[in-house]
C-alpha cells in the first residue's frame, strides 16, 4: 500500500514517469484491442492483409508501395497494409520483450543464485562461465543462433523425443535469452552474497531448513528486487535488439506484423528506388511505434525501479 502511494506521489511529481506510464498502458490497450482496431482477414492474424496481384502464376511482382490514403491510413508496402502491421506489431513487441527478458532472467537467476549461495569452486566455475558469455560478441552470436536453429528442434531425451516447433521470432527470443542472462546472474550473485551474511539466514539454518529451502524461501525473496528493477529497465532494449535482428534480414520476413521486418522491407525499397523520397512514410510509422514503445518502457522502468526497491533505485538510477 505504501508503495502504491509512493507510485502515485511520483507520478504526480514527475511528468516523465507519467508519460511513460501513459505510453505503456496505451500500448497495452492497443494490444488488447487489436482485433477491434484492425480486424484480421486471414487465419494467421499476424500476417498483414495482402492487396496486390495474385501470388500464383509463373512470375509475380509485388505492387509498388502507396502513400497513406483513407483506405490505408499508413499506406501499403509490397501490397501489405501498414496500419494493420503497426497495430498487430504491438502484440509481437510485448511477446518478444516480455518473453526474452523473462527467459534470460530465469537462467540468470538459477546460475547466479547457485553461484552466490554455494561459493567456493562452484562459484568460481559458474562465474567464469558467466564471464565467458559476457564477452560474447552479442549481435554476431544472436545472428548465428537465429540462422543455426532449425524450424523444428528435435531433442532426444533418452526416454522420449521432444519436438519443438519454432518460428523465427522464437529463435530470436531464444538467442537474446542466451546472450542476455549473464548480467542478471552477476547482480543476483552479488545480492545473495550480501543477504546470506544476515542473521535471519543463520536463524533459518538453525531451525533446520534445508539448503534449497533456505535459498528459495529466505534468501531469494530478500535479494530479488534489484534484479527485477534491472528487468524492467531492460524491457525496451531487448525489443531494440530483437527488431535489429529482424531488420538485418533474419526475422519473420515480409508481410509479417513485426516492426523490424516492415522497416527492413521499406529499406530495400528506398535503397533500390532512390527517387522515391516521399516514401519515408513506409518506415516512419513502424519506427515511431517502435521508438515510442521503447521510450515508454525506459521511462516506466525508472519509476518501477524506485517503487520496487527505493534504495537500489537511488543507487542505480542514471537519469537523476
Amino acid at each position: 500500500m505504501a508503495r502504491l502511494r509512493l507510485l502515485y506521489r511520483m507520478l504526480r511529481a514527475s511528468p516523465l514517469l507519467l508519460t511513460g506510464t501513459i505510453i505503456v498502458s496505451s500500448f497495452a490497450a492497443i494490444a488488447l484491442l487489436a482485433p477491434v482496431l484492425a480486424p484480421p482477414t486471414s487465419s494467421d492474424p499476424y500476417l498483414c492483409p495482402y492487396e496486390g496481384p495474385p501470388t500464383t502464376g509463373p512470375i509475380f511482382y509485388h505492387p509498388p508501395p502507396t502513400l497513406p490514403s483513407s483506405e490505408h491510413p499508413f499506406g501499403t508496402l509490397l501490397g501489405y497494409d501498414l496500419y494493420y502491421g503497426c497495430i498487430w506489431g504491438v502484440r509481437i513487441a510485448f511477446y518478444v520483450s516480455i518473453l526474452a527478458t523473462v527467459l534470460s532472467l530465469a537462467v540468470g537467476l538459477c546460475i547466479g543464485s547457485v553461484a552466490g549461495y554455494l561459493e567456493g569452486i562452484v562459484d568460481e566455475v559458474l562465474m567464469r562461465f558467466t564471464d565467458a558469455f559476457f564477452a560474447l560478441p552479442g549481435i554476431l552470436f544472436v545472428l548465428l543462433i537465429v540462422t543455426a536453429l532449425p524450424l523444428r528442434l528435435e531433442l532426444n531425451l533418452g526416454l522420449f523425443n521432444l519436438t519443438l516447433a519454432m518460428s523465427s521470432l522464437d529463435r530470436i527470443i531464444l538467442g537474446l535469452a542466451i546472450v542476455g542472462w549473464p548480467q542478471y546472474a552477476r547482480v543476483i550473485r552479488g545480492e545473495i552474497k550480501k543477504v546470506k551474511q544476515q542473521d535471519f539466514v543463520e536463524a533459518a539454518k538453525a531451525v533446520g531448513c534445508s539448503r534449497l529451502r533456505t535459498l528459495t524461501k529466505h534468501i531469494l525473496p530478500n535479494s530479488i528486487n534489484p534484479v527485477l528493477s534491472l528487468m524492467f529497465l531492460n524491457m525496451g532494449g531487448v525489443l531494440i535488439a530483437a527488431s535489429t535482428i529482424s531488420f538485418l534480414g533474419f526475422g519473420p520476413g515480409e508481410g509479417y506484423a513485426e516492426w523490424g521486418s516492415i522497416i527492413a522491407g521499406a529499406r530495400s525499397w528506398l535503397i533500390f528506388m532512390p527517387e522515391t523520397s516521399q516514401f519515408v512514410w513506409l518506415f516512419l510509422m513502424p519506427g515511431v511505434f517502435l521508438s515510442a514503445f521503447v521510450l515508454g518502457w525506459s521511462l516506466l522502468g525508472d519509476a518501477l525501479m524506485y517503487v520496487i526497491d527505493p534504495a537500489y533505485g537511488r543507487r542505480l538510477n542514471v537519469w537523476g
Binding site: D131, T147, V318
Partner: protein, 352 residues
C-alpha cells in the same frame, strides 16, 4: 594481485573463452545439412543449380565431416598459419579478409568515438551544472538535454540511420551513402596516380594532396558517423550527469567553494572524480559500438567488418564467422582489461 598475474589470469581465461566460443560456433554446423551449406557456394547467375551434384560438392569441401573434425581442421590451420582459417567465399585467409575490411570501420570509429565521448562528457557536465544550480526547479537546458538523450536512447539505430538517410540524402541530396562517389572511385582505381597509405580515404586523400577526394570522403562520412555517435552519446551523457550530480553533494565541493575557488576549478575537480563511473560504462559503450557498427554499415552500404559479419552469417561461412568472433571477442576482452587497469590509476582505492 600483481599486474602481471592479473594479466596472465585474464589471458588464460581469454584463451579458454575463445576455445569454447569457436567450438560452439562449429557445433552449430550440425544444425545444417552439408548440402545446404554447399548450396551457398553456387551462384545462380553462372551455373544452373540442377546441374551441380551438391552431395559431391559437399564431400569435396569436407562439409560432410563431423563437426569436431571440421573444427580441428580450422584450429590446426589457424594455429599453423595464425590466420584464423581459410574462407572459400573470399578465396583467402580469414585474417587477410578481415584486415582488408578493417580500414572503413576504423574510419567510422575514429570520427565517431571521440565526438561521442568528449561531447557526451561536455553535455553531461553542462546538464549537471544547470541542474545543480537551480535546485528545486527544473532547468530548461537540462530538461532539453535529458529529453534529447532519452529520446535518442529509445530510437533503434537502424531507424535513426534510415531517417537521416532519407532526409539528408533522398530529399536534400546533401550527403550520400557508401564510402566514396563514383567519380572518386574512377579516379582512384583508374588514374594510376593514387597511392594507398592507410586504406582510410580521408587520410590517404590528404597524403596524396587531393583535397576534393578528402571533401567527398567527408561528405560520405557525415551520416554514418552522426548515426554511430548517437548510439553512444546518450549513455555517456546520462552517466556523466548522474555521477556529477552525486559528486556535487560531497563535502569537498563545499570546501572548494569556501576556499573561494572559481566555478571552473570546482567543476574540474568534480569531473575528475566523476570520471571513474564513465570508465565503468565503457563495456556497455563498446557493446553498443560493436552493434552500432554492424547496423550502420548495413544501412549505409559501408563495406567494413560489420557488414562482413552479416554476410558471413548469411553465407554460412563458418571459418569466417569463427574468425570474426575471435576478433570481436579479443577487442572486447582487451579493452576491458585495459579499462580495469586504467581504473586503478584513476581511482587508487581500487585493487585489481
Amino acid at each position: 594481485m600483481g599486474l602481471a598475474r592479473f594479466i596472465l589470469r585474464r589471458s588464460i581465461l581469454m584463451v579458454l573463452t575463445l576455445f569454447v566460443l569457436t567450438l560452439a560456433i562449429y557445433y552449430t554446423t550440425t544444425f545444417f545439412s552439408p548440402t545446404q551449406r554447399a548450396a551457398m557456394f553456387i551462384s545462380t547467375t553462372t551455373i544452373s543449380p540442377e546441374r551441380v551434384n551438391l552431395d559431391e560438392l559437399a564431400r569435396k569441401l569436407h562439409l560432410t565431416d563431423p563437426f569436431y573434425v571440421q573444427y580441428l581442421d580450422w584450429l590446426r590451420l589457424s594455429l599453423v598459419t595464425g590466420k584464423l582459417g581459410y574462407t572459400l567465399n573470399f578465396r583467402g585467409f580469414v585474417l587477410d579478409v578481415i584486415w582488408q575490411r578493417f580500414p572503413p570501420t576504423i574510419e567510422l570509429v575514429m570520427f565517431s568515438a571521440p565526438i561521442a565521448i568528449l561531447g557526451g562528457i561536455k553535455l553531461g557536465t553542462y546538464s549537471a551544472r544547470r541542474a545543480y544550480q537551480k535546485t528545486g526547479r527544473e532547468d530548461l537546458m537540462d530538461s532539453i538535454i535529458r529529453a534529447f538523450t532519452t529520446l535518442t536512447y529509445s530510437m533503434p539505430l537502424f531507424f535513426t540511420g534510415l531517417l537521416s538517410l532519407s532526409i539528408f540524402f533522398l530529399s536534400l541530396h546533401w550527403f550520400a551513402p557508401q564510402r566514396i562517389g563514383s567519380e572518386v572511385e574512377n579516379f582512384i582505381f583508374f588514374s594510376g596516380t593514387w597511392n594507398w597509405y592507410t586504406g582510410l580515404y580521408t587520410i590517404d586523400a590528404l597524403l596524396n594532396g587531393q583535397l576534393w577526394i578528402f571533401l567527398d570522403a567527408l561528405r560520405h562520412l557525415v551520416l554514418p558517423v552522426a548515426t554511430l555517435t548517437i548510439s553512444m552519446l546518450p549513455v555517456v551523457v546520462k552517466i556523466t550527469r548522474s555521477s556529477m550530480l552525486a559528486e556535487y553533494s560531497r563535502p569537498y565541493v563545499t570546501v572548494a567553494r569556501a576556499k573561494g575557488l572559481k566555478e571552473v576549478e570546482v567543476i574540474s575537480r568534480v569531473r575528475k572524480n566523476a570520471m571513474t563511473s564513465i570508465l565503468t560504462v565503457s563495456s556497455i559503450l563498446l557493446a553498443n559500438l560493436l552493434t552500432g557498427i554492424v547496423v550502420v554499415e548495413y544501412v549505409f552500404s559501408w563495406g567494413g567488418i560489420g557488414s562482413l559479419a552479416v554476410d558471413a552469417t548469411t553465407w554460412l561461412d563458418f571459418p569466417l564467422l569463427a574468425g570474426l568472433s575471435v576478433v570481436f571477442c579479443l577487442i572486447f576482452v582487451i579493452t576491458n582489461l585495459v579499462v580495469d587497469i586504467a581504473y586503478t590509476y584513476v581511482d587508487p582505492r581500487v585493487k585489481l
